[in-house]
């Protein structure tokens, strides 16, 4: 994984609950898994797949599709050697095709990506410490 920042890849993998692999020849992160979630006694298979990934100024970004119209835009960056992760839930019905979205948009920053996602973002959270999330304003 060459100069890849493994901490940030692991941070993304931790959010998704999957293994994330990283291509040696470019900013291409991959993950595809189905896991069973217990919804108050009802066991449901939920899929997670990274369909787009991008790195801008040492900030790692992925778009991952889940079940139905649910997707996630995950951003990982390092501040003072600590991984900070933002998680934005997306409605696929309100955005352009998720597959290859970041590669097509080529965002120079997270804010630029969010500006393009606009109405597709339904909820945003930030992870500051292990297992400690807070809702973003």
């Amino acid at each position: 994984m060459g100069n890849v920042n493994r901490n940030l890849v692991y941070a993304i993998a931790d959010v998704l609950g999957t293994t994330v692999t990283f291509a040696h020849d470019g900013p291409k992160m991959k993950a595809k898994e189905t896991r069973t979630v217990n919804l108050s006694g009802l066991k449901v298979k939920i899929s997670v797949e990274i369909v787009s990934s991008w790195i801008a100024s040492d900030v790692y970004m992925v778009v991952a599709k889940s079940t139905g119209n649910l997707a996630m835009f995950i951003v990982a960056k390092e501040v003072s050697k600590t991984s900070i992760v933002d998680l934005h839930f997306l409605n696929l019905a309100k955005m352009d095709a998720a597959t290859g979205w970041l590669e097509k948009q080529k965002p120079r920053s997270v804010n630029e990506a969010l500006k393009h996602l606009d109405r597709a973002v339904v909820a945003s959270f930030v992870k500051l410490k292990k297992n400690e999330w807070s809702k973003a304003a």
């Binding site: 119209n69 696929l92 339904v122």
Partner: protein
């Protein structure tokens, strides 16, 4: 998550809320809203943060409830 008594009583528009998909992140529940029903089956529109996950069907097969997603 749904018993036979609840199965019989649910009306169109009624909602069931379950544990969320990412409980470590937020307590937002998965919401199942009853969209259609007949004697032996219920069809729910399922959402999370208002995003549609799909239509899930619950059938009563001789007293045993089974789900299709």
């Amino acid at each position: 998550m749904l018993n036979l008594e609840e199965f019989e009583k649910l009306e169109i528009g009624d909602q069931i809320e379950t544990r969320g998909l990412f409980p470590k992140v937020d307590q937002e529940p998965v919401v199942l809203r009853l969209a259609a029903r007949d004697v032996n089956s219920l069809e729910f529109v399922v959402t999370y943060f208002g995003v549609t996950l799909g239509r899930w069907k619950c059938s009563n097969k001789e007293g045993a409830l089974s789900w299709e997603m």
